[in-house]
Symmetry: C2
Subunit: 236 residues, 2 copies
């Protein structure tokens, strides 16, 4: 339980050409952390991992617990050891993210974010399960559902990754939301806080675990110079 | 002793603007592997780590053992568990590297390389120790010494990193040389094999350990779009 490590299964670039096949079991992922975000086989929905439980927000909007044997192509986890960095109030999403970076004090480390409280508005998306032959990441945007809730209590959680590692990661903030009732969530597109507490956890280490047993991964071309632009378009 | 992990202290991009200050002790590095490459505080020479010992090739050409308390800004190590992939004979450096990639069977994993045998010619360089205020990585090329030896028995060792991770790493091959007598070596600029055996070790995991306690690292701008070009120029 090394609390200084952010663990990642899969490299974000593999999703761009459509390598959505699950390559790690949920219970294997949980050996590397109790908190995080991710997606299921076929890019099926948005995952929020909290207190050792994995929640899926499906494109239907339904939230459910993920089983131990479900497979993931991509996920990030770490062992929660957050530090409180105060409160925020009445911030739009851009201002909130700027404030998180300001409180972190650096753009050069990976760090986890947990913002808990009341949100005036949260807009999320959830991707629908894709089937083989998989489309590109950009094309899946057409298959996503978008949800908006007002006056919702919950947690915005995920990671900041320095721009330098774009390709391995989605650069900047990658945040998911889960409401306190576990009935609403997804990949955050927009949020407006009312009153919320902010916690951060900085990492010294980033551990990239690649799907080395997947023949498709070993042969795919990840040298596309447009890969970072495609990631930014799909994940932000 | 996880043999599936390539451990890296520091991110290559930090060297481009001149963050050459040592931030990890030699004995701390050896907790993460017994085999590898690196450099000392001030970009002082080229390191070859073999069987748990760290050798420095200084700009004078002298090879010596590094002490436990010496500091490093950048190094890669892993626990040796190589697999033989046969022999090579009479290959120039470009052909040798193409052959290593061919035998690895993928461009998408990190892997270690160990080529032992006789080399018709080996050309290396070693960087001289820089002092504060440090110059840029590109400017240090003027302070490097170049050495050439004929008919030398030794080991060419280091790593292949996928292009996708350029910035964190020097993309492609990053290889150092140490002769069997421990009297000649450095960062390999060119090599012509006579007869040599080839071993590879593929990694599922790449663990990036950042100098999170270094105030200069936390504040430096690593978003320079020319950073990858500068790395390629300096390291190849």
């Amino acid at each position: 339980m090394d609390k200084s490590v952010l663990y990642q299964h899969g490299t974000l670039a593999q999703l761009v050409p459509g390598l959505f096949q699950g390559t790690l079991r949920a219970d294997e992922l949980l050996k590397h952390g109790d908190t995080g975000i991710g997606t299921l086989n076929g890019l099926n929905g948005e995952l929020i991992i909290a207190a050792g439980k994995i929640y899926q927000v499906a494109a239907s909007g339904v939230v459910r617990l993920v089983n131990a044997d479900e497979m993931m192509p991509f996920a990030n986890v770490h062992w929660a050891d957050f530090t409180s960095v105060g409160a925020v109030d009445q911030l739009d999403y851009d201002t909130l993210r700027a404030e998180l970076l300001h409180r972190a004090g650096t753009r050069n480390l990976f760090f986890a974010v947990r913002v808990h409280g009341t949100f005036q508005t949260v807009t999320t998306r959830a991707v629908a399960e894709q089937t083989e032959p998989y489309p590109t990441l950009t094309a899946t945007a057409a298959a996503q559902q978008v949800f908006t809730r007002q006056n919702v209590a919950g947690t915005l959680s995920g990671y900041y990754s320095p721009n330098l590692y774009a390709g391995a990661v989605s650069p900047g903030f990658h945040l998911h939301f889960l409401d306190d009732a576990h009935q609403f969530g997804g990949h955050v597109l927009d949020a407006q806080t009312t009153a919320a507490t902010v916690e951060l956890q900085k990492f010294t280490d980033f551990q990239l675990h690649l799907p080395a047993a997947d023949p498709d991964f070993l042969q795919v071309n990840l040298d596309d110079p447009n890969i970072t632009a495609a990631i930014k378009q799909a994940e932000n």
